[in-house]
């Protein structure tokens, strides 16, 4: 763990101490490609990664997902439901026009008006009642009640230029449709580059789907000029091909080098591996909904996971350190909470659990299962680092404790469909949090499913605990950062005590680079090429 953090810190330090501006092209091999250049089309990792090069958000997130100023220089709360954002001056869009409050309003207006958006950004503006431009450089946002996560929400989407989108007049925001805007540009206008004007350090050159995304340095960028004059991002989805492209010198950096190649890439004098802790937790979720449960046998139709003693036994039977060491080869950090310790809301007083097989067996017997039971553990096999292997290891450990576990591993498209139909009694999945920290998994994974309140969106174990819900709900209306985080820590403790969900480990993200380069690893696992620098 320490080694990982040190390496990350080292990389950040190197990035800051980078040399003068060079005219060099950086070519990167990405594991997956964006579905569009339109920053508001699809809320998806690869899209958001590309977006960060071209379109900046109002609020920034640093490498370890702390909030920092970006297009908004500073902000203040006149009262708990009002936010004043002071915009950075002298910021220009790629077409040379100035960034003002109008552009942010236009961006928010367009979010619900992107046709056929497969996953909209509307969730990030849902808590906003009104937005107005006090003047060109000041934005006033009012929320219906106190809402502490507005900064994280506003860090999640890139700001587009109103003029480049074809709107010249003033903009006023209205929740039910902005009155001044007759029509919105189609996503194709961004894919062709015509409307793709952001304020980021790189501007659009070419997007050919399946082939490459090309960007070039924006000379009027307000911040520090980026090191590379041009960026070429090539989607290479096949692991072996991606490594070969790096070894052949076709690309300078690749994402997601396969775990089994890391030793070799480290040993090779022409390549290097940089890794950093991520916020992604790999967890097991129990079926918390009564009898019967689909994947359990030998219990006369009873759902054993309704009993907290069984859930505790499962947790005690799993040796997380062993999984991290033997299966993950160090590419993970053992977990007991839903976010790692550098994220806000993680409870520092909760220690890791020591596995104890005897105690697990005793708890099972006490719960009425002295002979254990049969279980099917569902897992994807192409979504997380070594996912199917982890599930196999978990199954063996559970079997030793008497829960005879079979692994049902499948491709992610099948897995997520089946999981969302509640076909598993125990499943493995992952969750990556942003700058909201612990609030994000609490809301999505363990809060009771509630469509109207926007709670429990991925709580596919259907866990429901009114006491926990109350603490989470209170945290979501507590704007004071310290009080908010204290509530998150309290909630995290309740989750751990009740073994509502079973965190296994946090992934560590590796990148492989040409020797002599380094990257600042981001906890959200995004590859942002502006942080790639020569080592000296």
């Amino acid at each position: 763990m320490n080694r990982v953090i040190t390496k990350a810190a080292l990389a950040v330090g190197l990035a800051i101490a980078a040399g003068p501006v060079a005219s060099e092209t950086l070519t990167a091999g990405f594991a997956s490609e964006p579905t569009s250049i339109d920053p508001l089309y699809h809320n998806l990792g690869p899209n958001n990664m590309i977006r960060k090069h071209m379109f900046e958000a109002l609020i920034g997130e640093d490498e370890s997902l702390g909030i920092r100023p970006l297009l908004a220089e500073s902000w203040e709360n006149p009262d708990e439901s009002t936010w004043l954002f002071h915009l950075k001056k002298g910021v220009k869009f790629h077409d040379g026009s100035d960034f003002t409050a109008r552009d942010f309003l236009y961006t928010v207006c367009r979010i619900p008006n992107v046709p056929n958006s497969p996953s909209s950004f509307a969730g990030f503006i849902k808590r906003v009642e009104t937005i107005e431009a006090v003047d060109d450089m000041t934005i006033k946002v009012v929320t219906p009640g106190p809402y502490p996560l507005l900064l994280s929400d506003f860090a999640s989407f890139g700001v587009i230029s109103a003029s480049a989108a074809g709107h010249d007049g003033p903009v006023t925001y209205d929740k039910d449709g902005c009155p001044d805007i007759a029509s919105y540009p189609a996503t194709e206008l961004y894919n062709s580059g015509e409307a793709a004007m952001g304020t980021g350090p790189y501007k659009f050159v070419e997007y050919s789907q399946g082939e490459r995304v090309v960007m070039t340095r924006f000379d009027d960028y307000w911040g520090e000029a980026p090191h590379w004059s041009d960026l070429v991002i090539r989607p290479i989805s096949n692991d072996g091909a991606r490594v070969a492209a790096l070894l052949a010198g076709d690309v300078d950096i690749i994402e997601k080098p396969p775990a089994q190649d890391l030793e070799r890439l480290r040993a090779d004098p022409s390549t290097d591996v940089v890794q950093g802790a991520s916020s992604r937790v790999i967890y097991l979720h129990f079926d918390h909904v009564g009898d019967p449960t689909p994947g359990v046998s030998g219990t006369d139709g009873k759902n054993p996971f309704m009993d907290v003693r069984v859930r505790k036994a499962v947790s005690l039977a799993i040796d997380r350190a062993l999984i991290v060491d033997k299966i993950m080869g160090g590419l993970a950090v053992p977990a007991r909470q839903l976010t790692p310790d550098f994220m806000r809301g993680t409870n520092p007083d909760i220690a890791l659990e020591t596995p104890n097989l005897e105690e697990a067996k005793r708890l099972l017997a006490e719960a009425g299962y002295p002979n254990g039971f049969g279980l099917v553990l569902g897992t994807p096999n192409d979504r997380y680092i070594n996912d199917a292997k982890i599930a196999q290891a978990v199954a063996q450990m559970l079997t030793r404790a008497g829960i005879r576990t079979e692994v049902d591993a499948m491709t992610k498209s099948v897995f997520f469909s089946r999981r969302n139909k509640y076909e598993f009694s125990l499943y493995m999945a992952g969750w990556g949090s942003g700058s909201a920290g612990m609030a994000s998994p609490l809301r999505a994974l363990v809060a009771t499913q509630d469509k109207d309140a926007g709670m429990g969106g991925t709580n596919r174990g259907r866990y429901s605990n009114p006491e926990l819900d109350a603490v989470i709900a209170e945290a979501f209306v507590t704007v004071d950062a310290e009080a908010h985080d204290a509530l998150l820590r309290r909630a995290s403790e309740m989750v751990v005590e009740d073994v509502a969900i079973l965190p296994l480990h946090y992934e560590v993200t590796p990148w492989a680079l040409r020797a002599g380069l380094t990257i600042a690893p981001r906890a959200d696992q995004h590859t942002v090429l502006t942080t790639v620098r020569p080592v000296n």
Binding site: N43, P118, G123, G240, S413
Partner: protein
């Protein structure tokens, strides 16, 4: 000939209808694309909104009728993922695949036929034995392994060719092609060779067998007896007669390469339709997968037709039969 064409056309429509049904329901059963498209952070209301927007909340048979309705009007649907018409998406990727397929077939013919004929004419020579042994290896090793070996040799150890991607392209009549620039060709060569290895082996075997058989025919003996040069005997009398099976197989293989160069395109990150297919299956982008298979069926029908026409040009007997 006309009646034959019409009958052929009817058959292909039927085949395409059956394919559409199988593919649609097959993919429907695999899973719900929405589970992959939406961001897990989205709350349940947003998830449901996305499902409605894509029309995935309707029962399967209604979705199927919508799809059929579009099909009749020539609309193969819009990609869930890219919000682009599926057909447009496929056509934009087609040139890359066609280029790959044609170069592979050309390689197969210009290398396979002479090597196979040599092995047929001099079956006992060590060179022939080497050729035949090579063709066995070409046959029996898996395509992706050959691809990785080619990358390791040419791109990683010798560093003479790039490991993947498409390289520089030039627009010809609005279609981007890469065989006109040196950079483009260097990117094209390895994937084309990867696709071609199996075809070369196949053509070698066909040509050798053909040569051995034709070489014993009376008309070849007669040609030799007439005192024709060995070169003329080989180039005219033997070559022409072994080409019929070669053309048949190469024609079918061409279709195969265009439709299913999936492995090569994935290994070499070649932005063709095979890679599009694999990516779309992974994301359950149903309209693209269905449109792709519709096009594939259509293409096979067309290729078979062309092969028949080329036959008749090569073999006057077929021409005469049809004429009469």
């Amino acid at each position: 000939m006309l009646a034959y064409l019409i009958r052929r056309f009817g058959q292909s429509i039927l085949v395409m209808c059956i394919m559409a049904t199988i593919v649609f329901f097959g993919l429907y059963m695999v899973g719900n694309p929405i589970d992959l498209l939406i961001n897990p952070e989205d709350d349940l209301a947003a998830q449901e909104a996305a499902i409605r927007r894509l029309g995935l909340d309707k029962p399967a048979y209604i979705q199927f009728f919508h799809f059929l309705g579009g099909l009749v009007q020539g609309d193969l649907g819009t990609s869930f993922v890219h919000n682009t018409p599926a057909l447009e998406l496929i056509l934009s990727r087609l040139p890359a695949t066609l280029e790959l397929a044609f170069l592979a077939v050309i390689l197969a013919v210009i290398l396979g036929v002479p090597l196979g004929m040599y092995a047929g004419l001099y079956p006992k020579s060590p060179v022939s034995r080497t050729i035949m042994a090579g063709s066995v290896i070409g046959f029996s090793t898996p395509n992706f392994w050959q691809g990785l070996m080619l990358i390791m040799l040419f791109a990683v150890f010798w560093r003479v060719l790039p490991a993947g991607g498409r390289g520089e392209t030039v627009d010809v009549l609005g279609i981007p092609v890469s065989f006109l620039t040196w950079d483009g060709l260097s990117h094209l060569f390895l994937p084309a060779l990867n696709v071609a290895i199996y075809k070369i082996s196949l053509v070698i075997r066909l040509s050798r067998a053909g040569t051995a058989e034709v070489g014993l025919q009376d008309y070849v003996k007669y040609a030799r007896a007439r005192g024709l040069s060995e070169r003329r005997v080989i180039n005219v009398h033997i070559l022409k007669n072994i080409m019929i099976p070669v053309v048949t197989v190469v024609g079918l293989e061409l279709g195969n390469v265009i439709a299913f160069a999936v492995v090569t395109e994935t290994v070499f990150a070649w932005p063709g339709i095979g890679k599009l297919l694999i990516d779309s299956i992974g994301l359950l982008d149903r309209p693209v997968v269905v449109a792709y298979l519709m096009l594939t069926v259509f293409m096979f029908v067309m290729i078979n037709l062309f092969v028949d026409i080329i036959y008749s040009l090569l073999d006057p007997r077929i021409r005469l039969k049809r004429g009469g």
